[in-house]
Amino acid sequence: MPEYALVAEHFNLYYGEFHALKDLNLSVRKNTVTALIGPSGCGKSTLLRSFNRMNDLIQGVRTEGAIYFEGKDITKDDVNLVQLRQKVGMVFQRPNPFPLSIRDNITFGPRVMGEKKRSVLDGIVEDSLKRVGLWEALKDDLNKNALALSDEQQQRLCIARLLAVKPEIVLMDEPCSALDPIATLRIEELMLELKRKFTVVVVTHNMQQAARVSDETGLMYLGELIEFDKTKKIFTNPSEKITEDYVTGKFG
């Protein structure tokens, strides 16, 4: 199945006794933006964090079923987590640059992977900043502290920092929730830009955002994937009553 970047099959996740994700089946197409929507606590972030095993950091998490990435079940114990996370990267809710220079933020990933050559690192810095549309604005300020940037620029920088380790998939956990509406629109444009080279999965509270950026949308409710389909269908002609109620704002 080369056209799929991620495939979940009968995937279940438990936090101790709590059954947080219930028998999920979905396939994320390559080079698309897939949105996961649903009310708070429905499990959409948990699912996102399952794609690169970030839930491992939480105690008492247990999974059943499988998630396939590049033909391998990544829920297995023998998975190389460093490699997995390098290929399936994640951008967080709040912009969280390190309190380092812009350059050092971007070269952090390549450097922990052992890249030392200045010329290679400089190339990565330029390439990554170009991809997120920051190069022109920042190319003369690469030694400036990243915390001095605006929120939007910080979030772009965090995306650039991730692209520097050359991921295949970019997971975004409500990447715009800390940004103003204009910055949000610009980050959304960036997502559309990114899907040409990467696969993007975005968790969002903002239904309009899902409608604007995504090709396919999954609606989650109480740990279940209620419906997963083309975004257009979800928002105009959903098959499930819950989906219709949610996208029309009857609950959530």
Partner: protein, 276 residues
């Protein structure tokens, strides 16, 4: 009595209590400075004690004090910071961390005279180091270890979790995260703890007198004995050798501790400000 009146009386008592505490501190400092400072001259600082401290200065005791502190820090910092990293980064809260934490709390509660005796029996007698900078340094390190562990732990916990998450996402190992992100960001807090422990160690007598000894010669090797400023003061006063020199030594000691505390307070302030 009306509630309002009770309020006034309670407030009055609390305010006078607070001012009394401050007044006691100022009184102690004033007495020591008035009695000691007139005798503190450059020669007093740079001359070695003569005639058991009746005459001369305190140079060798200053050297002994600094030497002792440096050795104890060299031992206590790696142990303390290492323990703190282990407790915060490499373990999940559970029985093991609780036992270790309880152990360090208990260590903090051991009276210093007991630590001194322990150091005397183990390092001075059993291991045959005799009274020396090494015996004193290890014993003092044991005393300041809990302070360093606790302050380092707090500083490390204050480093935002997101740094660790991003480090994982970017393929960094835990140790790389510790070295590149956690420690640099916790450094001001850890440093504050180290300075605090220096402030505590510099005035310590009970541990030091049993392990470093009381020799007035300037120590060179770590196997030489010496006499710290605090011990020097204690002996001068206790044996009535020279109250004048005792007060002068005390003035130097109190002055150093004040400087150290002010500096650590300043560092802590900067650290807290940098966090918000």
């Amino acid at each position: 009595m009306t509630p309002k009146r009770a309020e006034h009386i309670a407030l009055g008592l609390m305010v006078s209590g607070a001012f009394l505490a401050l007044a006691i501190l100022l009184f102690i400092i004033a007495v020591i400075m008035i009695k000691g400072l007139p005798h503190v001259t450059l020669r007093f600082l740079l001359d070695n004690p003569m005639d058991m401290g009746r005459a001369g200065g305190i140079f060798s005791t200053i050297v002994s004090t600094i030497y002792l502190l440096v050795v104890s820090l060299i031992i206590a910092i790696p142990l303390g910071v290492g323990t703190a990293i282990y407790l915060t980064e490499y373990t999940v809260e559970g029985k093991v961390t609780k036992i270790i934490r309880f152990g360090t709390e208990c260590l903090a509660g051991v009276p210093s005279i007991i630590l001194g005796l322990f150091g005397f029996i183990l390092f001075v007698v059993k291991m045959g180091f005799s009274w020396c900078v090494l015996s004193g340094g290890i014993s003092l390190a044991i005393m300041i270890l809990p302070v360093i562990i606790r302050t380092s732990e707090e500083a490390i916990k204050a480093v935002p979790q997101s740094y660790r998450d991003v480090n994982e996402v970017l393929g960094g190992s835990k140790w790389q995260g510790v070295i590149r992100l956690v420690l640099p960001n916790a450094a001001p807090g850890i440093l504050t703890g180290i300075i605090l422990s220096v402030g505590r160690g510099i005035g310590e007598t009970a541990v030091v007198i049993f392990t470093l000894g009381t020799s007035l010669r300037t120590p060179f090797s770590i196997f030489d004995s010496g006499r710290s400023m605090a011990v020097h003061f204690y002996i001068l006063a206790q044996e009535g050798i020279s109250m004048k020199n005792a007060y002068a030594t005390a003035a130097v000691l109190v002055f150093s501790i004040l400087i150290i505390n002010i500096f650590s307070y300043y560092m802590m302030h900067r650290f807290v400000k940098g966090r918000t």
